[in-house]
């Protein structure tokens, strides 16, 4: 805790408290406003969307109708998009987190020939622009006939260099060398040490990378945009964007505007909920990694 002013009850402290809380509250309004807008927009009819005040509800509460439209449009493609997103993100996240954990463990707890070089490569990988990778990947995969498959989206997402760094920093901190040496003295093999001793202690870090990889995959737009052609393979990002451009270009009928907002609402609710529920786990991991950096 801190000591501002002379003691926790002085007038200066109280004034500072009000002032700083007010500043944070203002930014909170800014942060929340778009989310609030999504909620109110999803409850309106298309007509009301354009005529009523954006940040408040209209008399005509249309949320259920909008949801119905959302889930039935184009034969329920939105549900397919949700399923796709969940599937791509979960598989990518688990795989990416596991690979990053293994790799981070190797970097943190071993010294070996080529370590510095590999670390430099991983660091460099973070700097490469997506287009330099995704488009050639597309060309490569289309030669192999793998475009427009879920693998085209999942496999590249298993490479998550920031996760490697995060786990490297975290493992270095969280697991003492002595623990591993004790395991060796006890006769355990390296992998056994990892799975039965180390892994349990890594959970906060692992959870952090898992969530970050999940979010990265969930948010990914460019990769699926390029790799997937058939709409029923789309994740929500690509699907909604397409709905939006159809709505703006006027070809899909004016109904689509509210549907896009409703879709946005439906797609962000689970992620935010997941964040709120998991925040016990990930805050520790992110902290350690950030400190190490």
């Amino acid at each position: 805790m801190s000591i501002v002013g002379k003691s926790a009850t002085s007038a200066k402290f109280r004034r500072n408290r009000w002032l700083l809380t007010a500043i944070l509250s203002l930014y909170f309004i800014y942060t929340f406003m778009p989310l609030f807008y999504v909620i109110t927009a999803a409850t309106k009819s298309n007509q009301d969307l354009f005529s009523t005040f954006g940040l408040w509800l209209a008399e005509d509460f249309q949320l259920w109708e909008n949801l119905k439209t959302l889930f039935t449009i184009q034969d329920g493609i939105f549900l397919k998009w949700m399923a796709n997103t969940a599937y791509y993100s979960s598989v990518s996240a688990i795989g990416a987190a596991l690979f990053a954990t293994f790799a981070g463990y190797a970097f943190a707890k071993y010294s070996f020939f080529g370590k510095k070089l590999m670390l430099a490569l991983v660091l460099g990988a973070v700097m490469i622009p997506q287009t330099a990778l995704v488009i050639p990947m597309f060309l490569m995969l289309s030669n192999l006939g793998l475009t427009n498959t879920s693998l085209a989206v999942i496999l590249p997402s298993l490479v998550f260099p920031p996760g490697v760094f995060l786990m490297w920093a975290y493992i270095d901190d969280a697991i003492s060398n002595e623990l591993i040496e004790a395991g060796r003295v006890d006769g355990a093999g390296e992998f056994h040490i990892f799975s039965s001793i180390a892994f349990r202690m890594l959970m906060p870090g692992f959870a952090t990378v898992l969530i970050l990889a999940f979010v990265a995959s969930w948010n990914n737009y460019f990769l699926p945009l390029v790799m997937l052609i058939k709409p029923d393979m789309f994740p929500i990002t690509v699907g909604l964007a397409q709905l939006y451009s159809t709505a703006i270009s006027g070809t899909g009928g004016v109904l689509l505007f509210t549907v896009v907002m409703t879709g946005a609402l439906v797609s962000i609710v689970p992620v935010i909920a997941a964040f709120l529920l998991m925040q016990r786990f990930w805050q520790g991991g992110l902290g350690a990694g950030g400190v190490k950096a």
């Binding site: 778009p34 973070v126 287009t131 964007a241 350690a288």
Partner: protein, 303 residues
């Protein structure tokens, strides 16, 4: 006695030895790293050395694409946009993230956890959706910003006009990423031992003096890392302008950012070879900028 104990070790279980273990741990990551990073890069580099002609098919042209890219004003226009964007967005975001992290770390405000989490939530929103939502908010006719302005008697600016477009996009990035950086700074500040604060209190420093003269200098390495990653991210700008294009077709041209340029070259212009060269050139720009930045920062630190 000892010999018997040694022989008793099960021989059918594979004991992974210390020297090989790290390589085995790296195999899964390394495999995919090579397959989906190195190989595409090599492939991209390869195709960038070719050109598809109307007549005669694909032929090897060596560095021609790169020379063309280097001299291409469309590319450098895009780079200029990126620089303007980065100079606008990054300082504001870092400053607000630092300010809020310091405020939260000082322990003075109420509902610390509430603010921490709520500021982070936008990071969980996909960039696509954030851009969609803000596009709606920016809407001149039906967007709440415009509505509120008119209610107050003002006219809201045209958020997608050439003057405002970068600010509008920067705003989306600010909304999305401030919380993420703030959490990183907050964690670093929390790691500062409390007796340093007490020493500063004994020295007579106010909380503000302690924050600015002791705490901030201590987290400079963390700040540098986040700025480097922000620079790298900004120079790869694609999603937000790409989507806002729908609303502002005249402002966001086909080469607004180099990534958009490369995309259009591949899928609209059917020139994947040249696109590859553009991408590599962009990668080179990113590498140079990052390297220069770190050089400048490190020189300041050593002083």
């Amino acid at each position: 006695m000892t010999e018997r104990a040694l022989k008793a070790r099960p021989r059918n279980r594979v004991i992974v030895n210390k020297t090989i273990a790290p390589y085995l741990f790296l195999v899964p990551f390394a495999l995919f790293f090579v397959a989906f990073l190195i190989v595409p890069l090599i492939y991209a580099f390869d195709i960038s050395l070719y050109k598809k002609a109307m007549v005669g098919g694909v032929k090897f042209v060596g560095a021609d694409n790169y020379i063309k890219a280097f001299a291409d004003p469309k590319f450098w226009e895009g780079v200029g946009v990126l620089f303007k964007f980065a100079f606008l967005q990054i300082p504001i975001m870092v400053a607000t993230a630092l300010l809020f992290a310091l405020i939260l770390d000082s322990g003075v405000v109420w509902a610390k956890a509430f603010f921490r989490i709520s500021f982070f939530i936008p990071y969980a929103v996909p960039a696509v959706i954030a851009t969609l939502i803000w596009s709606y908010l920016y809407g001149p006719a039906y967007g709440p910003i415009g509505q509120t302005a008119r209610f107050l008697g003002y006219e809201a600016p045209d958020f997608v006009s050439p003057e405002w477009i970068l600010g509008s996009i920067a705003n989306i990035a600010q909304w999305q990423y401030m919380g993420y950086n703030m959490i990183i700074y907050f964690a670093a500040l929390q790691a500062i031992p409390t007796d340093l604060e007490e020493a500063s209190v004994v020295d007579g420093a106010s909380a503000f003096a302690f924050a600015t003269r002791i705490k901030l200098p201590m987290i400079v390495p963390t700040i540098i890392v986040t700025v480097v990653f922000s620079i790298i991210g900004s120079l790869q700008l694609f999603t937000e302008p790409f989507l806002i294009q729908n609303m502002a077709r005249s402002v966001i041209n086909s080469n607004f950012t180099p990534n958009i340029y490369a995309y259009n070259l591949t899928f609209v212009g059917q020139q994947p070879n040249y696109a590859a060269a553009i991408s590599f050139l962009l990668g080179g720009v990113i590498a140079v900028v990052s390297y220069v930045f770190m050089l400048v920062v490190n020189r300041r630190n050593d002083r």
